[in-house]
């Protein structure tokens, strides 16, 4: 469904690459990519949708180069910028995207009622709180029979109750899904998903969220390492069942590495 190969990308004026030789394949599985803010997670998602130029590497969706795709209705995202087609109230925006995606606007309006977000329908996106804006994108991404869903920080500024509801919605989705987050503690909700770590533009993995408690981080290139990360602080290895610091109970990859370094 999604295949990214050796993707390296530097933003204009940027000093270091936002993505470094990233490869990723997603067929039917769900995957969560966890990493600190600025590690390249959102850029990875934008590259997958063809929203940033890809100077080196390839991105294919359903075996087609992302830049050659037209009218593929099954691929959705919650990225706010893709819903800025027109500055109309959210209710109108839903009808516009229902028409463009070939769906029924009542389906998504029902979801807005389920999430107690009816209030947002009368307002334009920029008039909403950050959390409400995020939820509008989240619900649009999960509407109109999506096949591949790409979610960027879907829980950012979202309250506890809606987080739980949205986790249930994601669990019920029957198809491939790629979710970025910087929140380690969210991983416990996705124990049967695949897992990747994003650090300084490098994607490490793939692991299983269920195996997180068995993973360790060690300084240097450890023999038998599952993955090796090259950073400005030197090399770090991710190993299974032994190592310097366990990832179990960690709050972020940054904190773990800083602890070791």
């Amino acid at each position: 469904m999604l295949e990214i190969s050796h993707l390296t990308l530097t933003y204009p004026g940027g000093h270091s690459p936002a993505l470094r030789d990233v490869s990723l394949a997603l067929d039917r599985e769900k995957m969560v990519v966890v990493g600190a803010n600025g590690s390249g997670k959102s850029t990875l998602l934008k590259a997958a949708l063809g929203l940033v130029p890809v100077p080196r590497g390839t991105v294919h969706l359903r075996d087609r180069d992302v830049n050659d795709i037209t009218g593929d209705l099954g691929i959705t995202t919650n990225l706010g910028e893709v819903y800025r087609l027109m500055y109309v109230p959210v209710g109108d925006l839903i009808r516009v995207y229902a028409g463009l995606k070939g769906g029924d606007p009542r389906e998504i309006e029902g979801r807005f009622h389920d999430f107690e977000l009816e209030e947002t329908l009368r307002h334009r996106m920029h008039e909403l709180s950050t959390g409400q804006q995020k939820m509008v994108g989240n619900l649009l991404a999960m509407s109109f029979r999506p096949e591949l869903v790409l979610l960027d920080e879907p829980f950012d500024n979202v309250d506890f109750t809606r987080r739980r509801q949205y986790v249930e919605l994601l669990q019920s989705h029957d198809g491939p899904l790629l979710l970025n987050t910087h929140e380690f503690e969210l991983l416990r909700h996705f124990s049967d998903w695949d897992l990747g770590f994003m650090f300084e533009g490098q994607l490490l993995g793939r692991f299983r969220v269920a195996d997180l408690d068995r993973l360790y981080v060690s300084r240097g290139e450890a023999p038998g390492a599952l993955a090796v990360l090259h950073t400005r602080l030197g090399a770090f290895s991710i190993t299974r069942d032994h190592g310097d610091v366990p990832l179990k109970g960690a709050t972020s990859l940054n904190a773990v590495m800083e602890g070791i370094a």
């Binding site: 949708l49 130029p53 037209t70 990225l79 027109m86 463009l100 995606k101």
Partner: protein
């Protein structure tokens, strides 16, 4: 998918358009009626010509504000358009046709408001009723002028977005407005060469508005015409032809640029 309705609604909800495209124009109309010509005396025909010249220029300014609003709106929509063309049923041609139609309607809407305001303010000043001579022509020109503003805005902004980044978007966003003020003020105050009056889409629009309001062709030398009643005048078929050529050329450019649209993040613009 018909985007005409949502597009018109989005534009009508834009406060910038209402302030700079409508309220600020009322200010100029009041200045034109009560300040700039205080002490001058006009015949009935002279008053009609004077009002028509103000209506032509004010309608032009108002529509160029629409163009500027469209350019800024577009600069925020590049990712949405790129996503839409890949992952929805939206096609560049359909999008262009929708916003062209929407801009035509908005052109009529703004021009009619300006016509009503001009009639009210100048009738009050001169003490007799002044009405547009050819309302149908006025509506037609309004729609054509609205579509011109759309393709102008789209060509300018997409050229910058696709090839130059967001560094120059602020300047380019105001370019339609600056050109309108430049050509509009020059046309009224300076005797521009006829070839330039025909070639410039801005003077085409203001001259056609003048003719629809006054019922007579726009004089090459407006001041002389108002004071003496005689001057060579511009031929409306050539003005209209020139405007249509501009619209066709800019539509073709817009279509090509829309197909190659390069998504830019708003954050990139903010950093600049």
């Amino acid at each position: 998918m018909n985007l005409v309705g949502p597009y018109i609604k989005a534009m009508l909800l834009n406060r910038t358009l209402w302030f700079w495209g409508v309220a600020f124009m009322f200010f100029w109309l009041v200045m034109g009626a009560f300040v700039f010509n205080s002490g001058s005396s006009f015949s009935h025909a002279g008053a009609v010509d004077y009002t028509a010249s103000w209506y032509g220029i004010i309608a032009l300014f108002s529509l160029s504000t629409l163009a500027t609003t469209i350019t800024f709106s577009l600069s925020y929509s590049t990712s949405a358009l790129a996503y839409g063309f890949r992952f929805t049923r939206l096609r560049p041609r359909d999008y262009l046709l929708s916003v062209l139609a929407g801009s035509g309607v908005l052109g009529i809407f703004l021009s009619v408001i300006m016509a009503v305001a001009s009639v009210g303010v100048f009738s009050l000043h001169f003490g007799f009723a002044l009405v547009p001579a050819n309302l149908l022509a006025l509506l037609g020109i309004s729609a054509v002028a609205g579509t011109f503003m759309l393709v102008l805005a789209m060509s300018l902004m997409l050229t910058v977005v696709n090839y130059l980044g967001l560094r120059n978007t602020n300047f380019v966003g105001f370019l339609p407005l600056l050109l309108a003020y430049g050509f509009g003020i020059a046309q009224v105050n300076v005797s521009l060469p006829p070839w330039l009056e025909y070639a410039s889409p801005y003077t085409d629009i203001s001259s056609l508005f003048y003719q629809a309001f006054a019922g007579s062709a726009y004089p090459v030398d407006l001041s002389q015409a108002i004071l003496t009643g005689s001057s060579a005048s511009l031929q409306w078929p050539y003005l209209l032809l020139s405007l249509f050529v501009w619209i066709l050329v800019l539509s073709a450019i817009s279509t090509v640029l829309l197909r190659r649209i390069r998504p830019r993040s708003v954050e990139e613009g903010r950093q600049i």
